[in-house]
């Protein structure tokens, strides 16, 4: 793979390098995301492989698929998807993340199209993708239905959207806010507002209203004994993920 020309302002590189190092430090500020990432990737890769009949044991199995990651942050999902051969666009509304992600992709020798934009703006511009990753975003937006409608518009017919978020119940409050933010300080305080959390049934209803056809839902479960995450068919009580398709 050919690394793209750097689009990063040279005077800012030192700062962004430090931030990139932070995003990609497994023991740093984004440790909870790094811990969850293998589990998220397992789910995402298997869903894409099943939907588009790809064989994950082959090199670059996602070649030819156009993929959008909304809320891409430092590129924790974009880079693996690019390594698997997908043509990846990463979008983030926070301008500061983009040069950081761009720089890290260049260092990794990966070609990823990072953009400072929103799902709504991209949909308005008529862009379309085979796969839209919508991970841990919907709980942060003001109007989930109009946001999800934009993600529907961003899909080609027959396309796949993977959407994950946090359930709303006393346990998710305890785990995500009190546990992760207050006790463990895994996340900055104020990262989440509990009333914005969405239950799986509410999300499925919203996705359907947006025009999508939900086809799968699973839980991501943290095991404090083995200290890692796993995918669960039944336990959607805190973190969970859904797959939906846009019927052609």
């Amino acid at each position: 793979m050919q690394a793209p020309q750097s689009t990063v302002d040279p005077s800012e590189i030192a700062k962004f390098e430090a931030m990139a190092a932070e995003w990609w430090d497994p023991k740093g500020k984004f440790k909870p995301l790094h811990m969850l990432n293998p589990c998220r990737l397992d789910y995402i890769t298997r869903q894409i492989a099943a939907e588009f009949h790809r064989d994950l044991t082959q090199p670059e199995p996602f070649k030819g698929l156009r993929l959008l990651d909304i809320g891409c942050g430092g590129g924790l999902l974009c880079e693996p998807m690019a390594r698997l051969g997908a043509d990846v666009t990463g979008a983030d509304a926070a301008a500061g993340n983009l040069p950081v992600a761009q720089l890290h992709a260049e260092q990794s020798g990966l070609k990823i199209d990072y953009r400072h934009t929103t799902a709504e703006d991209m949909a308005a511009a008529g862009e379309q993708f085979d796969v839209v990753l919508n991970m841990e975003v919907v709980e942060h937006v003001a109007d989930p239905l109009s946001y999800l409608t934009a993600t529907y518009d961003l899909l080609k017919p027959g396309g796949l959207e993977i959407c994950s978020t946090i359930n709303r119940n006393p346990k998710s409050y305890a785990m995500a806010i009190f546990g992760a933010e207050v006790i463990m300080r895994w996340l900055p305080r104020g990262t989440h507002e509990w009333h914005k959390f969405i239950t799986p049934d509410e999300l499925v209803e919203l996705l359907s209203k947006a025009g999508l056809t939900p086809v799968d839902r699973k839980g991501f479960v943290f095991n404090p004994i083995s200290w890692n995450w796993s995918i669960s068919d039944r336990d959607l009580s805190v973190n969970y993920v859904t797959s939906s398709i846009k019927k052609s």
Partner: protein, 408 residues
Amino acid sequence: MKNTSDILIVGGGLNGPALALALAQTGHSVTLVDAQPLASFEDADFDGRGYALALASQRLLAQIGIWDQVAEHAQPMLEIKASDGTAGEGPSPFFLHFDHREIEEGPMGYMAEDRYLRRALLQAVVAEPKITMINERRVIDQEIDQTGASITLDDGSELRGKLLVGSDGRQSGTAKRAGIARSGWDYGQTALVCAIDHEKPHHGIAHQFFMAPGPLAILPLPGNHSSIVWSEKTETAQAIHALEDADYMAVLRPRFGDFLGEISLVGKRFTYPLNLTIANSFVADRLALVGDAAHGMHPIAGQGLNAGLRDVGALAEVITEATRRGEDIGSLLVLERYQQWRRFDTAALAATTDMVNRLFSNNNPLLRLGRDLGMGLVSSLPGLRRGFMREAAGLTGDLPRLLQGKSI
């Protein structure tokens, strides 16, 4: 510089080729560098070296496609008899007896001669198009950067990969160059290793005599041959090793007893100083250590190679899963999973092996009574005995898929 291959492996003994095969079979390109010339594939003479392969190790060798070539020259270990003995007095009446018929998995392991195992591995490596083998070259420099690891060979050529693996033994240069220090201690003992011919058949039974100076193991090889691993205080061992063959056998015979009839020496004699050396870390950025490079241990129960093959199985699985997720296989994030998997296991094994050795290399009458009673107790409790057998067969713990006999 462009990558020479996905993964560079330094050290072409047994673990290095096994790892190269496992990784090539899941689609990775591998370059394997070894300081030695490529071993001849002609029938080598038996040099006296053999390995007690646990059942789990045999399963890995089958998965990477070389067991058939090894099997015809391997002896199944059907029973293990462990007893407390004093040189000259023969075994005490209390002994542990493990019979494979008590566990459903089959033989607890196999004895394989070094020459056949090595040949089978190297033939498969040479035949595998995804592996490049470089012989008679030493690594003189290595450099790790953000995207890969580069090594310089003594002919000035440079190689580069996403990940560098050191399988270069207990003196691992790969670990040293990465600034990874080692901890360990010396047992003050040396293992004497040789192979013998014996008059009577061994019936696939392995024996371990725990004697005051150190343990003596008799491990059945194909035919009327056995491999002997015999530990003594280092001074005594050196004195014995310096003896002529006939005098050496005169020292061995009384320790051995006469249950196999007349015995005579075949092949060479070897000595191995017994020390424990564990790398303070098994991984660093873009670097992983396997086998003796990670942990050189007391070969009391033939666990050195078996532990190495567990590393191979675990690392190949971690790397392959990471590749299929699109993760960067050289990142510490990925490599830490291998370290977490193997470090606890290794520390536990080293500690147990050390404890067993300390307990049995002792003539304190109370300890002797205690271990005689302990052996009688284990012997009389089938559940406990089966547990020990599964441990000996390498079937306990969080087993990598290849060691369960499954593909990755």
